[in-house]
């Protein structure tokens, strides 16, 4: 058996790619060099050239994946720190989440059809705004391809994290609460980590956005998809 198939080695490759990508971004100060995106590309290129399958990589990768769950639980701390401002605006927060959730599912379905996507692709894209475990579950329920959903979810998160603050600026969304909330609603935990970098207040509302939208999407997606005849 080839050494490149060693799972510990593959974990090390993931770390090195990420650290290298972080260094690259700091060195050149280019936003587009998002460390998550760059390290995904580097790892894929490495696996392709060395002939390692994704299944083999996953044997190591799942040890990194594993930490997503406790990391999402940990988001409860920034959320707790912002509880008093959440209480103050419960109604605006809830209503904007419902609006964002519905707008997200409807817009992705309409756009995908407009661009000529097949039914399977439309269903795989429908839950793309929410965090991977929820999105994959919904994708399987409504007849999408969960693996494609997972990839699209991560890419959406990266896009939202990179472009999110530019989009809120262009849409004249000014309050830090609304900015964080919108980014978390559209770009789940990856967007939240970008919001965290800007400040804990942004990050906390972003995690609120990802939580409420995750719950709403899980509850409403099959219903909304049925309503719009998808």
């Amino acid at each position: 058996m080839n050494f490149v198939n060693n799972e510990i080695f593959l974990i090390a490759v993931t770390f090195i790619s990420f650290i290298g990508a972080q260094w690259l971004q700091r060195r050149f100060c280019i936003k587009l060099l998002n460390p998550i995106l760059v390290s995904i590309i580097v790892v894929i290129l490495f696996l392709r050239t060395s002939g390692v399958s994704y299944e083999t990589y996953s044997a190591g990768g799942r040890y990194i994946d594993f930490w997503l769950k406790p990391a999402v639980v940990a988001l409860g701390l920034p959320l707790y720190r912002q509880l008093s401002s959440i209480k103050k605006q419960l109604l605006p927060l809830l209503l904007s989440e419902v609006a964002g959730c519905v707008a997200g599912i409807v817009s992705v379905v309409v756009l995908a059809r407009l661009f000529g996507a097949s039914h399977e692709i439309v269903m795989s894209l429908a839950p793309k705004a929410v965090t991977t475990p929820i999105a994959m579950e919904i994708s399987a329920t409504v007849g999408g391809i969960p693996a494609l959903t997972a990839a699209v979810v991560v890419c959406t998160g990266i896009f939202g994290g990179m472009a999110g603050f530019r989009i809120v600026k262009l849409s004249h969304i000014k309050s830090p609460i609304a900015q964080g909330l919108s980014i978390g609603t559209a770009a789940h935990a990856v967007g939240t980590s970008a919001a965290m970098e800007r400040g804990e207040r942004y990050g906390a509302f972003s995690s609120l956005g990802l939580t409420i939208n995750g719950l709403l999407t899980a509850l409403l997606a099959p219903f909304i998809l049925g309503l719009i005849g998808a």
């Binding site: 998550i36 639980v73 959320l79 894209l125 793309k128 929820i134 494609l148 990266i158 919108s182 970008a194």
Partner: protein
């Protein structure tokens, strides 16, 4: 540090238990997060008891997504076939979600605060 790991995993396990008992289609981690927030609020857990680990995990959240993203390599065929709808719809819809969420928030806040002002005026009169 072991205590911090223990507390976080206890909440994750509680989330797993809730999912197992009720069968709701929500990830255990999201339930765990809500339970943690509630317990912090109720004073059952002191923030200092989890701060170091929680802040570390939250700061490095992005890294944990890399293996899921590498899964892209298994979908390259479908993506090559239908890259325009996939990229176009995802990017377009992300912009829509951000704008709609932010605008609704502003709209509702404005009307709520306007109502408050009206109420205060009425009370004065």
């Amino acid at each position: 540090m072991i205590l911090q790991f223990g507390i976080l995993f206890a909440f994750l396990a509680a989330g797993e238990l809730v999912v197992w008992l009720t069968g709701i289609p929500v990830p255990s981690s999201i339930i765990g997060m809500i339970l943690l927030t509630v317990s912090l609020k109720a004073g059952l857990v002191k923030p200092a008891k989890i701060e170091r680990l929680a802040d570390f995990l939250v700061r490095n959240l992005g890294f944990f997504f890399v293996p899921a993203g590498v899964g892209l390599m298994n979908c390259l065929g479908i993506i090559a076939d239908q890259w325009l709808p996939i990229v176009g719809a995802s990017v377009g819809s992300t912009v829509v979600i951000i704008a709609v969420t932010g605008w609704t928030h502003r709209l509702v806040r404005k009307s709520v605060s306007r109502k408050k002002i009206v109420k205060q005026e009425l009370q004065k009169a």
